[in-house]
Symmetry: C2
Subunit: 504 residues, 2 copies
């Protein structure tokens, strides 16, 4: 794999100076075109120490328009980062559409170095690489251009390079004992790197292996590959936009579900909606569960266990009221309620999961999503805000996201608050009558109501595809608010109890 | 996940009879349109025993035009199948473009049942599912429509169903002790199934979970989903064809590589082409290696170790002559030379790897590919016979293919026979002078020669991306035929020796 990057390729200063101005102009022009584009560029530098990862990133930073470029390098996770799932920091740093993001010591660094130092087995590394593949695939599916450069040096060239850096007083600080320690592990490093590249070089995220010994050569190669990649991605996305338009033409409308299937029971219609709780019993149970929640949360906080609660449900199903009953039992500094409405401009310039990743909280906190990432497979599906392919692949992306939350030791509960159409109508009418509640009722609520059937189909599919043992849905019969509130509280308490037990 | 498929959904006979004729006509019409399409349809039935997998496949077979439909079900591998990598039989059975293939007890059956019976761990099952994901992804990338139905029954419904089948003398034979044994393992089965679905439900190959208790309901759902899937895939492919055309427009041509990069040494130009072997030494070494090969092959055959040899190289580099020196040492019944020219009509209707999978031989045999799957990243790349995306993702697909060959215990060697452009010219001229060799020289050879630089770039990238520890490339300095032949023979012998040792 690396033989082809140990050939002693060189570009002279004269040669470089001859092509540099054109390359630079072309890159700036591409960057200008990028600003209008509907995708980000993600550049990853990996490879052997001393092969020029940093220098190349520096030069790119110098050449490109800095307003549209971000560079990120990672060390061991900070306290802040360690309290979230490992990919949190990478999600946070993703460049928005139109920008170029450069990543040094990226998501590949950990699995690779842990394998080199034998802290993890080959199978463990593979598992980690699968997660990386899913991450990059999800970004690429969303349109991102991912360009990965693996900078290579032969063992001899690496030694020579480290020596040279050491001998120059201006660069000697760059060479540490660790670098020499790594150099002695060269064979292990290259062996692990080969596996890493094999497992993660995909059509949509190819590793380009670059001979790193000569600075001008490697720079020319990287700049040229980058130019080509951006150029052809721009062309491709433009063509894809035409496809999307094509597929939206009226004659491409989907046929309606046959009546006999449309009228079938759904997971929602099978709920026993008569369940209720009378006033005294409600108060007793509410107090009991709130006391329990308060105590359990303190325990969880002590242990650094975070809680993520997801609330979905029909308009007027009582999400807000239920959330308030819950938060009342908590200390204001310990929870965040995240109301999810239409995404902001900043959020629209990112992958749809980005705005949820960013809200994952520090250890011991409770994050409550009032509507959530499930919007992708509910409202966005029903309203046609995203393509069929986009919401279909979202199930897998969501399962992967939630798996990472649970693997990080967080407690995750997902609630669908269900009311019948009749109950909804009654509540709408009540809202329109009570002055201080009128603001809660919008034209959109009435419009959504007309699409009850389509939403029900979507909810059914959502439960089918995303209710799993590690992250089950709790369907809440919410025609009676009291019953719903107690059921939610009890479910959260049970989950916290189980989560605390598991941590022991 | 399965709660939504235990709702007791039913379609009455009257309801079914009312929609059946239309559905049937629509499906036949779609099948007619499919015949002209550039993709196959792959339907997979999985799920709980008794949930109607077979019945649904039967009905589809009845309704569809049998000339354009194939159905495959798998039991434990036959002797023939066990001697090849596990996916060999699935590749062999893939439907060509324009046809529908239905798969029962498909590639999912093994990993699932082995997990249910605790023969493999969860991690092992995951590994197997990754291979499945790669397989399906590769087919989908090639255009295939993959529709997966998971037929579900609750534990109670399964019992009822098995009882009912048993009670009817006409269907009693369908229920075996094994079915009841499986029923007792219901929870294990459903647990493993959930993981399987979570890991393999992808945007391009979504699992549809179907409630299987009522025959007319499940049939209606499957037929309707199938209809929708084919319909929207036809639309999508049509739009994609337009994109491909768009991307091929003259203004979308790729810029040429800057001279300063084009003239860099490649992995080929770094070879020492002066290596030679004089006549006596050649004869001695040739005899020695042939004797060695003959003995080693007999040992390998005894142990059931197959050998796969890949020959690539420049026109007139001496592939044919080298192969003959090799096969002379073998028994005619033990080897096959597969000359790879332009694909046949049958082969063109399949994934490009299909025609190589089919040639993998029985245990102990030697299969020699005179040109190979590397055509995808060489001639097809250089001549623009496939899209950039197609050859870029081919590296990963090829690595995966070769990994399966090696994992099956086969010995794999890959040779690039290299000659210099000057030597090629001399050989071309010699060929055109010797009458009985003139047929070997075509206009295409001269045309290829003009693209030497582009081919060299492609060879370099090929070695970079596909020369790995498990399947390394051997670059052969072939300006002197004698030297090349002995080097190839020795490499094959060394590999066989290592392979035999590993098997012990």
């Amino acid at each position: 794999m690396f033989e082809a990057a140990e050939l002693g390729r060189k570009v002279t200063r004269e040669e470089f100076d001859a092509i540099a101005p054109t390359l630079r102009t072309e890159l700036l022009e591409l960057q200008r075109r990028l600003r209008e584009a509907d995708f980000p560029v993600i550049i990853i530098f990996g490879g052997v120490d001393g092969a020029g990862k940093n220098e190349t990133a520096n030069l790119l930073n110098e050449w490109l328009d800095p307003r549209w470029t971000v560079t990120r390098a990672y060390a061991g996770p900070s306290e802040d980062e360690a309290e979230r799932p490992p990919f949190w920091r990478y999600w946070r740093d993703l460049p928005p559409k139109g920008k170029i993001g450069m990543f040094l010591s990226s998501w590949y660094h950990g699995p690779l170095m842990e394998r080199v130092h034998d802290h993890i087995s080959v199978a463990d590394m593979d598992e980690r690489l699968i997660r990386i593949n899913r991450f990059e695939k999800s970004l690429a599916d969303d349109g991102a251009l991912i360009v990965k450069f693996w900078m290579h040096l032969s063992e001899k060239a690496q030694k020579k390079r480290l020596k040279k850096l050491e001998d120059d007083p201006l660069t000697a600080w760059q060479v540490t004992d660790l670098d020499w320690k790594h150099w002695k592990m060269y064979d292990r490093f290259v062996g692990a790197a080969e596996r890493l590249i094999m497992q993660t070089s995909k059509g949509h995220a190819l590793w380009h292996i670059v001979e790193g010994a000569d600075a001008r050569y490697r720079t020319s190669v990287v700049l040229n590959l980058l130019k080509e990649a951006i150029n052809s991605h721009l062309q491709r996305r433009e063509a894809m936009t035409k496809v999307a338009a094509e597929l939206k033409k009226p004659n491409n409308q989907k046929p309606a579900l046959p009546d006999v299937l449309a009228k079938q029971p759904s997971i929602l219609s099978s709920l026993d909606m008569t369940q209720a709780l009378d006033g005294d019993e409600y108060n007793r149970q509410l107090q009991e569960q709130r006391g329990r929640l308060s105590a359990l949360h303190r325990k969880a906080k002590d242990k650094g266990i975070s809680t993520v609660l997801v609330f979905e449900g029909w308009d007027a199903a009582g999400k807000g009221g239920t959330i308030r009953r819950l938060t009342n039992a908590l200390n204001a500094r310990d929870y965040q309620v995240i109301p999810i409405a239409a995404p902001t401009e900043e959020e629209r310039a990112q992958h749809y999961l980005w705005r949820f990743w960013r809200h994952l909280s520090r250890a011991g906190r409770v994050t409550i999503f009032d509507r959530s990432w499930y919007g992708r497979v509910l409202v966005e599906r029903v309203e046609g805000f995203c393509s069929d392919e986009a919401w279909q692949r979202a199930y897998g992306e969501i399962n992967d996201f939630e798996e990472q939350i649970v693997e990080a030791g967080h407690v995750l509960c997902k609630f669908w608050l269900h009311i019948t159409p009749e109950e909804q109508l009654a509540r709408f009418e009540q809202r329109s009558e009570i002055e201080y509640k009128q603001w809660k009722l919008t034209d959109e609520d009435w419009r959504n109501r007309e699409k009850w059937g389509a939403y029900e189909t979507a909810v059914n599919a959502m439960v089918e595809q995303t209710s799993t043992h590690i992250a089950p849905w709790t369907l809440v019969e919410a025609n009676t608010k009291t019953f719903a509130r107690v059921k939610v509280l009890r479910t959260v308490c049970d989950a916290l109890e189980a989560g605390i037990k598991k941590r022991k």
